[in-house]
Assembly symmetry: C2
Homo-oligomer: 329 residues x 2
Amino acid sequence: MASIKDVAKKAGVAASTVSKVLNNYPNVSEETKKKVEDAIRELNFIPNAAAAALSSKQTGRIALLINEKEQSQAIDEIDMQYLTGSIVRAREKHMDVQTIFFSMLKEKTYEDMVNYLRAQSIEGLVIFGLSKNDTEIMRLINSKMFKCVCVDAPVVSETASTVWVDQYKAQYDIAKEMLLHNPAKSILYLAGKKNSFVMEGRLKAINDIAKEQGITLKVEQGDFSEKKARKITLKLGRKYDLIMCASDMMAIGAMLALTDLDIFRPVAGFDGITLMGYAGKKMTTVKQDFKEIARAAIDEAESLLLGNPGKETIMPHKIVRIEYLDVIH
Amino acid sequence: MASIKDVAKKAGVAASTVSKVLNNYPNVSEETKKKVEDAIRELNFIPNAAAAALSSKQTGRIALLINEKEQSQAIDEIDMQYLTGSIVRAREKHMDVQTIFFSMLKEKTYEDMVNYLRAQSIEGLVIFGLSKNDTEIMRLINSKMFKCVCVDAPVVSETASTVWVDQYKAQYDIAKEMLLHNPAKSILYLAGKKNSFVMEGRLKAINDIAKEQGITLKVEQGDFSEKKARKITLKLGRKYDLIMCASDMMAIGAMLALTDLDIFRPVAGFDGITLMGYAGKKMTTVKQDFKEIARAAIDEAESLLLGNPGKETIMPHKIVRIEYLDVIH
DNA sequence: CTGTTAGCGCCTTCAG
DNA sequence: CTGAAGGCGCTAACAG
């Protein structure tokens, strides 16, 4: 377990010089740099991150806050994409990442959270699936004690950034696509949770397009879950030409209800999870690239840690049509 | 950001004494202990983990090695359960956890892995979904440089433990249950990947029960994926009374094929993922509690770090029947 | 451009 | 049972 001193000795320089090449300081001659690098290689030296963090007071450590949706019977593809995307990206950037689930924070006050995060020497947060109800986390973000990147929540400040797709445009695009392929007089729209940040743009979009095209629109309050969607569709599905949902899980619930009712209606979801392919035929959805979103979030976190101000990043989306029971690629 | 010194000053003792109460050393009087604890509370003091690790040379840090199964179109419920289970449990035990995906290790040699892990001050590994093909990881385990807990792989040594369900018994149990409810003369068994550790016991079990009950058994080589299972079933499903699979994903593939063929056969899976409920009716599966398995793995990792020798832990399983399109609870 | 000097916050002997 | 002293491995001024 070689240390920086061993490297210094071997290279015939001072420990601080080794530190300088390790951290890409400008003032090191090519010659000594090479000597040091050779020594590092020969000794198979690996810097001790704990010591570096202790000394520099900078850990470069961020936490991933994942809101596992227990109540919506979710198939966990989205969270998993978020996780692999961010962890792999963080590794590429040599950032240290800590995964935290919302369930671990339940009942915790703002103060508890700060303590916990500080104990872990965490400097930044990437938050997935924040809703307006998460007041303690909102306090955390507003306190500016940590750099925060919020995915799917429009929180921008000096220390906070947002990464998400254009919710209005996505909902508008898919509605247009649906109406193009399925001329209709009425739409049943199953909305997600009331305090979800993503719903604002989506509701505006669906209202706008209904108005533009003179279509009857019925909006029902759902909660993103398959169960609730199934129930609502069972009750109202018969009366509308088209069913559009705020999540793929809801679309699946709607499909199951339509099967129960033994009728057919075109169904649209939102997300583009693989499971949609197993749920039924002739479905349409908005496909988001969650892995890419996560990578962008990590990039943004790094930027914030570097001292840049927060900003908004809009990620692209696609409209996908599934013709028959199969997998989305 | 109070330090141990501040606490010492406030409590009127030396820093080393504070350290002793922090780490539950025996030789501290109740009285001073109390004084110190009060000071800690008042100052809202949190020990700096990096400093402690640096000083004690013990990080208590373990890595979770997750084998995300990209090729089997997996719905990621299992991995997610593993992750939440282990991370929450590790938090309860104040252990530090690092998540690593197999994909990050691809192409990496044993030496690279050691370097990477050492750079992260990792002392122990919990490995999910190891197969016999992962030779470099096997070398890592055998090197005894890290304490290892393998989930679903029978690797037991001084520094390695195993946590899994009894594969033989589980497969035997579900086969028996299937035959009880569906008297049959022949079974089509869709096996998983050849080099999977879990298949050994399962294949033995299915062979044994077929022999015992005088049933024709046809074993086909699958790969745990829905796709392959669908293909095989399309070709052979018609000829057998029962279809049993080595994973739920395969069972879903088999169901889809049966739908294509427009025939009915009882289908059995293995795992107990939620998605099974969306795939069809009258399915049977082995339900494993992945979250509980992960918790047990963390407990075992802690035990290894404490210096205990490796051992095998067998987790319970259940047989579950799904009657109609719905969610498994 | 390089080396010296001081810590970062904590743990761990070792005296007392 | 308690405190003083030294050091873990690295970084960050500051001299030179």
